[in-house]
Symmetry: C2
Subunit: 383 residues, 2 copies
């Protein structure tokens, strides 16, 4: 396999972009990434997106974005893996460059969730769950996560406040990220006063519905010719999977796909969890952060929340997470999120993360989940 | 790049499967392919599908199908490129094996179009066109193709009957394909009497709305160990793209994406059009067959229909097309179609095409289009 490096990144601000279309957002991010890479073309464009059909009446995004970016003609397709779509597109981009068929690949993740009624958005997001066995009963995706959080609190004798440190960290980090949706710090008091969405999940446990696009440019490492000091190597790209339905898991309290995907990634990169300097976790809901930290090998079972309470997850801690705001505060435009995470890890490993810079960051990991970790996509980057 | 071979194929019958779900169909095809390959696992599963979200309320098909097939845990994702989704998934599978990350990959294409109202299906299929510039005006995907056919007839002084040979050939070939939807031969008289759907496109110019699934198993050619006599090599896998919107093309009468993708594929395979022994063309509408034959280099501009009238496209002709019935008569479950085409070419190159066997078939080409060739996915197979 050829080695693959990220040589350019681009992001739009995350937010409610009522005045902008999906193609606008994707194009801005893609052009930013090409500019950042100092290239004006790509051999292929892979687009991550979950709900453009449902919410904006448009499929076939690969050809659309390729054309809008000015690269009509190139190899292109869309990748979908629910909320992990962007990261899955990056996985395809990685394989495409590693294979030798393409030297220069653009990966863009884009999502526009605010173009529809919130009711339709909620129903559409539930398509990440099992339509025949879960959503047919009327349960929303948030409610599924709420069931999981409730059970987790019961199993490990926790209260909602034990999850507060995740949101506090995410919001604190978003303050200094110009692309973040929520650039206001919160306190534990804010967390405790927050309105419930689906008991016990409050607005402060939950990533927002929003719009955004991010892109990265990948190049065969052999082709860097030593003149790209800011290139960041992709040391691992791996996907693990699980049942869509929670009911169908031997152990619903353990994210097998996260474990599988993390272990595969560690093997590929030749590292162990303790070598990771920062971790962009899939904090769509606080409970997902907690369970991901455990299954990825950063905390013992039942101890994920403790890691946060001890301060380990802040930029100065031993395992900084959500360093640019995470899904919670940067925002979670679902099919774009995995690409945002990759771009943010690259910012960190380049030393360009500004006030959120993690000191001595050499190994960064990004993990994006589809459904309740029905799939987990893990990338490890090294500088 | 590692060489990649197809070592197993599986297909469900194409039809209106009112009693079966998308997961049922995909699972049957996938298990058939694994059985045919004499393997009981795959390292990764890539699923091609266009409209499961719209029509069956289910996204995240990768994890779903992996689980249903009994391979929960593996690397998996969904690929979408409108009607070219299945072929695009095959492209990803090809890159994945070529890269060296995976030795054994299952590619499944699945689509269930009959689970919704025909009105909703028509609206959903139009998502292959440009939502902001075409479908916003209320035009359906068939109507777009009808505009193209009308203009083509005007440019080259043709009448609908000039297109009849495509449908006659497709139906004749489907008679002997147990997986085909329409196993009844038709005559030019039937064609002439057929009801219009969107003038000048009649039901006999148009592939049916239907359900189906197909799958192939890919293996690194180096790993065959000489004991897989039925393995068929993938000599080329290439995608070309164009604008989604017809209005936006310099020359709407020429399928640039088909030309680009075919030329790339010929270069990869080291062959010329005249080396191709059979061509599974994207005959969703007769006009697409005609224009594809031209842009792919099999007929001069404006002469595609003539090729059919001269009999070149029958199994005994110099360029057999739609050899197992094509999209027209085997059926066109959109996201599955590209994988059906691949499986059928493999049947031909193995010498297992029964009464439709093309004599001395050594080089087979399959081409699948998304939108009005907004993307074209071309695969060349050799035995």
């Amino acid at each position: 396999m050829r080695n693959v490096s990220v040589v350019g990144i681009g992001q739009t601000q995350v937010g409610e972009h009522w005045d902008r279309s999906l193609r606008d957002l994707a194009t801005e991010a893609a052009l930013n990434a090409l500019r950042d890479a100092h290239v004006d073309h790509a051999d292929a464009i892979f687009v991550g997106n979950m709900l453009s059909g449902q919410l904006t009446g448009q499929e076939n995004l690969g050809a659309l974005i390729a054309d809008e970016v000015g690269l009509r003609g190139v190899d292109t397709l869309k990748v979908e893996a629910a909320c992990g779509s962007g990261a899955a597109a990056l996985h395809v981009g990685y394989l495409a460059v590693a294979s030798g068929q393409f030297d220069l690949v653009l990966v863009a993740g884009a999502e526009k969730l605010t173009e529809s009624s919130s009711c339709n958005t909620t129903a559409s997001l539930a398509m990440a769950a099992d339509a025949d066995y879960e959503t047919v009963h009327g349960i929303s995706f948030i409610a599924l996560n709420a069931l999981l959080m409730k059970r987790y609190m019961y199993e490990y004798d926790l209260v909602p406040e034990d999850f507060a440190a995740f949101s506090v960290n995410a919001h604190a980090n978003a303050v200094h990220n110009p692309n973040a949706m929520f650039r206001s710090p919160i306190t534990v008091e804010h967390y405790k006063r927050a309105r419930d969405i689906s008991d016990p999940i409050s607005v402060m446990d939950s990533a927002p519905v929003c719009d955004g696009a991010a892109a990265v440019v990948l190049m065969a490492t052999d082709n860097l010719n030593g003149n790209r000091a800011r290139a960041i190597k992709i040391a691992a790209s791996a996907i693990g999977s699980d049942s869509l339905g929670l009911h169908d898991r031997r152990d619903p309290m353990w994210l097998s796909a996260v474990e599988l995907s993390s272990q595969k990634a560690y093997r590929q990169a030749g590292i162990a969890p303790q070598d990771v300097n920062l971790f962009e976790v899939h904090d769509a809901f606080s409970i997902m952060s907690v369970m991901s930290l455990e299954a990825a090998g950063f905390a013992a079972r039942g101890r994920g929340a403790l890691l946060a309470r001890e301060g380990a997850i802040t930029p100065q801690g031993k395992l900084p997470i959500s360093t640019m705001g995470g899904l919670k505060a940067r925002g979670h435009p679902v099919g774009a999120t995995g690409v945002y995470q990759a771009a943010e890890v690259v910012q960190q490993l380049r030393g360009e993360a500004g006030k959120n810079q993690v000191a001595n960051a050499h190994v960064g990991m990004a993990q994006s989940l589809g459904g309740i970790a029905a799939n987990a996509v893990t990338h490890i980057f090294v500088n």
